[in-house]
């Protein structure tokens, strides 16, 4: 067990962080909005943490105090929230494809800006970000609570008046408005909450990955997130979490199979490098055959019922 954890420490934490990030795509989707803006806020959060820890807080030798990481997370949350409001208020008047395009544009613009500012380190980015833990696995102390709390948040949200409003908007925005639900308010709420969460994940990730540059939080990330949600499930919060965990682990598992040996060279190489091919195909298959993803509310209800049956 110990060697397993030691070998896969980086992977396990990455899986957990990916699951949280998947939830950031899920939140606007609850209101029927496809927004791929969260990679932008993720990048922003990472830069905030990186800049604060390397240039503002001057830590002494030894481990970086965990309280400061938490402070950075709060800072990232606040800044992302404000930017989310500023961008969201005008952008969320757009619907469907137009909103998706606007969020794509947003991420691209942020990427170019990050590539060129002095403070973000330009093309090289920021490296040598201080570590609050002595090994990678210990990041679970931050990542896992973050995941669990976000899951709890979204689960409770789904059952609340606010969650109902979001779902009503997703089902039929016009009818929801006619029933008194303000579309702009709730769409912006979902968008901003998503931005805040993405910013926090970014802040943690910056420390976890140790360097941060404009290659974090790009269109590529949007593709990953879409795969997580489309495959995992878009109608319940469990879906994106499972999608994020499994699809982050999948490339590693495939790599493992490739390394076992005995496979023809081309197949082995495909298994090693074919992550994006697989994700792309999964996204396409998902939209065509499983638009609700694998984990649907129906499945959850079914599983819930099956567990109770043996007591009859």
């Amino acid at each position: 067990m110990a060697t397993f954890l030691a070998t896969y420490d980086f992977l396990l934490v990455s899986m957990v962080l990916a699951a949280v990030l998947a939830l950031t795509l899920y939140l606007p989707l609850m209101a029927g909005q496809l927004s791929v803006a969260s990679p932008g806020f993720y990048a922003l959060g990472g830069y905030i943490a990186a800049i604060l820890s390397t240039k503002v807080f001057h830590p002494g030798p030894g481990l970086y105090p965990i309280q400061l990481v938490l402070v950075e997370m709060v800072a990232a949350a606040v800044v992302s929230g404000i930017l989310g409001l500023v961008v969201g208020l005008p952008a969320l008047r757009l619907r469907g494809i137009f909103l998706a395009l606007a969020t794509i544009a947003f991420v691209q613009i942020l990427g170019v800006v990050a590539l060129n500012l002095q403070v973000t380190g330009g093309a090289i980015g920021i490296f040598g970000i201080p570590q609050p833990f002595s090994n990678q696995l210990s990041y679970m102390w931050v990542a896992l609570p973050l995941l669990l709390l976000s899951m709890l948040f979204v689960a409770r949200l789904e059952r609340s008046r606010t969650g109902r409003a979001l779902v009503a908007l997703r089902e039929d925005e016009l009818a929801a408005a006619a029933m008194g639900v303000s579309p702009t308010y709730y769409k912006v709420l979902a968008f901003t909450t998503s931005a805040v969460l993405a910013g926090m994940v970014g802040a943690v990730s910056a420390h976890f990955i140790n360097t941060w540059n404009s290659r974090q939080g790009t269109f590529d990330t949007s593709v990953n997130l879409m795969a997580f949600v489309l495959v995992g499930g878009s109608r319940t919060f469990v879906g994106p979490v499972v999608g994020g965990l499994v699809l982050t682990a999948l490339p590693e598992a495939l790599r493992g199979i490739a390394d076992v040996g005995g496979l023809p060279g081309w197949l082995a190489q495909f298994l090693r490098d074919g992550r994006l091919i697989i994700f792309g195909v999964l996204i396409a298959l998902g939209t065509v055959f499983f638009p609700q993803g694998l984990i649907t509310p129906g499945l959850l209800r079914h599983l819930g019922r099956r567990r109770r049956v043996p007591h009859s």
Binding site: L34, P90, A91, R93, L94, G96, I97, F98, A100, L101, A102, I104, A105, F106, Q108, I109, V112, V113, L115, N116, L174, F219, V223, M226, A227, L230, W266, Q269, F270, D273, G274, L276, I277, I278, F279, G280, V281, L282, I283, A284, L285, G286, T287, V288, F289, P291
Partner: protein
């Protein structure tokens, strides 16, 4: 400024194929970028040149070599065929379900990412360049006077000329031919059109063939102009192309050219000290246009029926 027009006409031809699909099917076909890449690589292979060392097909060379123009056409045919296959697999099932166009965008995004990475897997990621087909022509055309030469690379002139020809041909097709009228009928209302006896499936097929062929032509010409810098430039073009077609007006054919030229010029006019931000220009324009005038410059405002 001429540089801007040159770049702009590159964007314009790319956008023509992109917007053609939207004009008929009301969906954004993100695979256009991937198909244009495939066309470029196919044309390259058809010129009999050796494939790079990084991909699966490393070192492979076709047993024949075609002159450039034929390779261009051949590559574009390959692209067109790919377009048709993509349509069958990724779009038709969604269309049959009456799914929201947003799902088609996502599905095409998945296919595009997969295709580009498959291309990379097969051909490797290093740059390629075509054997020079224009060797017999002067390398540049002089638009100025002998005393004050304004030189433009021949290939860029060719690209500009091709884009204008394509624009003219497509406009003629859409407005003056029976097929064009049928296409526009399908764009208005697919169900009614098929009830009126229009073979919508065949027309949609035709649209994808034209769009794919255009994509292949574009890809090869761009590859000729700047070299093929690896399959990922298909995604980059796909993204930038979004800005072009939205700016011009989704589905509007002259709009694609207008949008392309404007973005090309805008990029060219970025002042030197901010040159690093040039890549953000198309997306900033996209964002602004979406907020201010989502139907684009030449598009009509859409009235939503309740």
């Amino acid at each position: 400024m001429l540089n801007g027009l040159a770049i702009g006409s590159v964007y314009a031809i790319f956008a023509l194929g992109y917007t053609l699909i939207f004009s008929v099917l009301r969906i954004i076909n993100f695979t256009h970028g991937a198909i244009f890449t495939l066309g470029a690589y196919a044309a390259y292979a058809l010129t009999g040149s050796p494939l790079g060392i990084n991909g699966l097909l490393a070192g492979l060379t076709l047993p024949f070599r075609l002159p450039f123009v034929l390779a261009l056409v051949g590559g574009s045919i390959v692209a067109a065929v790919c377009g048709v296959i993509v349509e069958r697999l990724a779009f038709r099932p969604l269309r049959a379900r009456g799914a929201d166009p947003l799902l088609s965008l996502v599905s095409s995004l998945g296919v595009a990412v997969a295709l580009v990475n498959i291309t990379q897997y097969l051909f490797g990621a290093e740059p390629y360049s075509y054997p020079d087909p224009l060797a017999s022509l002067p390398s540049a055309v002089n638009f100025g006077t002998a005393g004050q030469p304004v030189l433009v690379r021949t290939v860029q002139v060719v690209i500009f000329a091709v884009s204008m020809v394509m624009l003219a041909l497509l406009t003629y097709l859409m407005n003056a031919t029976r097929t064009g009228k049928a296409l526009r009928a399908v764009a208005e209302d697919t169900t009614t059109s098929s009830l009126l006896g229009i073979d919508t499936d065949r027309l949609i097929l035709l649209t994808f063939i034209i769009s794919g062929f255009l994509g292949g032509v574009t890809g090869t010409l761009i590859g000729l102009s700047v070299g093929i810098a690896g399959p990922y430039f298909g995604i980059a073009f796909g993204l930038k192309g979004l800005a072009v077609i939205v700016l011009g007006g989704l589905g509007d054919i002259p709009g694609a050219v207008v949008g392309g030229l404007i973005i090309g010029l805008a990029e060219a006019f970025v002042p030197a000290q901010h040159i690093a931000y040039r890549e953000a220009v198309p997306f900033a324009l996209l964002f602004i246009v979406l907020l201010v005038r989502p139907q684009g410059l030449l598009g009509r405002a859409q009235v939503q029926k309740v």
